[in-house]
């Protein structure tokens, strides 16, 4: 009773102060029923679908996802580094959709009509919704690097969408000569999985140490600082001779002419402002923006990402459409798989509340993100977040990084267990 009264009061206060809290059912939907169409079956979309069905089995859920198997971007560095096989990060939908009563349409969403509330697909389907969830992940700003593009990525992989790109980069790494140079062009902020490029460098160096010890990884960065930097640098110093003449990893910051301005794909050359670097294997991770459908549906702002009300993750542009995961403006929560999973649960609970004529509960979020320096040296960052003044606020005094004297081997073990559990939470 207390909680209900309070939320009601906050709802009224929110509406008065222009927070725009939504407290009514969408037109045409009956309490305990309704149809939610989710675009994208990744970390955000799959979690949202499953949790909606568990919170209210009267709500019908359709997921529109072109792929019949989904490879997670998180942990794909483990495949590139040879710690795990591709099938470990690949998950099917068939058993999952049956188990939870979720309708999966293997097609690509091409438009969303926010007035008629219809999603159209490339295959010609029109799917009517009461509420739509858009969880398309990221797309690339290929125009920020001259000479790079979708076709070029077939030979110079980004491997920042997992699947065939992951396998391609792994294959190139295995084919590389001993003594070669593996270049990672790292993107500017904000981008999916902030520690990802540095974990990738670590696990490529780990592979080199065992199989091609004269080889080297060079990170050419569009930034002057990066996630978990102190912990990565300490780990690189311990394991890869970082900072010495024989270091297997070198990091070149933007200020040190590290940023890729262009590439020459045939010669695998990175062009910077003042010079060029020729690579044996070139991995270009371009600047990013919300997945294509978000822009097509007009959900993005000038930043290329989607503004939302984090209470429900409903778009600030179009009512009835929610955006979760990497595509949403979610700061201070980083763009991680765990964040997408966290946001999806809040969004699922809010949608169920709205479809049942209730005000959404005030949410709470967590981010937990593991990276490996070696298979036995793990690092983590965590954050706990609350909804404060209509925004996401990080709880002060909580969260943060693995301490300098942390249990690195234990964290590496937990990283694998983390993956097993979050995958079960999403796709189980």
């Amino acid at each position: 009773m207390n909680r209900r009264r309070f939320i009601k009061a906050v709802g009224a206060a929110g509406a008065l102060s222009g927070l725009g809290l939504v407290g009514c059912t969408s037109a045409g939907s009956k309490p305990g029923s309704g149809h939610v169409v989710i675009i994208g079956g990744g970390a955000g979309g799959a979690t949202c679908a499953k949790y909606i069905r568990h919170l209210d089995s009267g709500v019908k859920v359709t997921v529109v996802e072109p792929k019949t198997e989904f490879a997670t971007c998180f942990m794909s560095n483990w495949v590139i580094g040879g710690i795990k096989e591709q099938n470990w990060i690949t998950h099917g939908y068939a058993g999952w959709s049956k188990k939870h009563g979720i309708n999966v349409v293997h097609d690509t969403a091409v438009s969303i009509d926010p007035v008629a509330k219809v999603v159209k697909t490339r295959g010609g389907q029109s799917i009517k919704y009461d509420r739509c969830v858009v969880s398309p992940g990221v797309d690339f700003r290929y125009d920020t690097i001259d000479g790079y593009g979708e076709a070029v990525a077939e030979s110079v992989p980004h491997a920042w969408h997992a699947g065939p790109q992951t396998a391609l980069l792994r294959k190139q790494l295995e084919s590389m000569r001993n003594g070669g140079l593996f270049v990672i062009a790292a993107p500017p902020n904000p981008f999916r999985c902030p520690p990802g490029p540095y974990e990738r460098a670590s696990l490529v160096a780990n592979y080199f140490k065992k199989h091609k010890p004269r080889s080297k990884v060079l990170i050419m960065d569009a930034k002057d600082a990066f996630s978990k930097q102190g912990l990565f640098v300490a780990g690189w110093t311990t394991h890869y001779g970082y900072g010495t003449a024989n270091s297997m990893i070198e990091w070149r910051s933007k200020a040190n002419d590290g940023m890729a301005r262009a590439i020459k794909a045939e010669s695998r050359t990175v062009v910077t402002e003042f010079g060029e670097v020729k690579a044996d294997v070139l991995n270009v991770i371009p600047a990013q923006k919300a997945g294509h459908i978000a822009a097509v549906a007009g959900l993005t702002d000038a930043s290329g990402w989607c503004p939302v009300d984090p209470l429900t993750w409903e778009s600030k542009v179009h009512k009835g459409i929610h955006v979760i995961g990497d595509a949403a403006i979610q700061a201070p929560i980083p763009k991680s798989g765990y964040a997408a999973n966290s946001e999806a649960k809040v969004c699922a609970a809010a949608i169920v509340a709205l479809l049942n004529g209730r005000s959404p509960d005030v949410p709470s979020w967590v981010n937990t993100c593991y990276s490996l320096v070696t298979p036995d040296h793990g690092l983590s960052v965590a954050g706990v977040y609350t909804y404060t003044d209509g925004k996401i606020a990080e709880v002060k005094g909580a969260g943060g990084l693995t301490p300098k004297d942390g249990h690195f081997s234990l964290e590496a073990s937990y990283a694998e267990s983390w993956y097993q559990n979050i995958i079960d939470d999403m796709f189980g």
């Binding site: 609970a349 005030v362 979020w365 983590s380 404060t388 964290e411």
Partner: protein, 100 residues
């Protein structure tokens, strides 16, 4: 009763006091959903991260409070437990304890 008055005050003051609301999340379900990411769907763990489902509430609650106060040294849980009030931790413990 005191709590009700506090909530009413916060609402009137227009403060979105999510900490207070989460504390009122008597079922612990909202926060617990966030724990599932690491500890497994409905607290059933597939690996070495401890499962939470059906464990005694006192055990879960005391463990989380010891992580929060650093009395017990873990890895990531010392950092995460600090994000919640003791009341919220009790509610999460009760929620998982009640899942059979």
């Amino acid at each position: 009763m005191r709590r009700t008055r506090l909530y009413a005050f916060l609402a009137i003051a227009g403060i979105a006091a999510s900490q207070a609301v989460s504390a009122a999340d008597a079922g612990g379900k909202i926060i617990a959903a966030q724990c599932n990411g690491c500890h497994g769907f409905e607290g059933i763990s597939k690996g070495i991260i401890p499962g939470l489902r059906g464990k005694p509430a006192v055990y879960l609650s005391e463990s989380m409070k010891e992580f929060k106060s650093d009395k017990r040294k873990g890895t990531i849980m010392n950092r995460i437990a600090k994000g919640y009030s003791d009341g919220e931790l009790d509610n999460v413990a009760k929620y998982y304890s009640g899942l059979k």
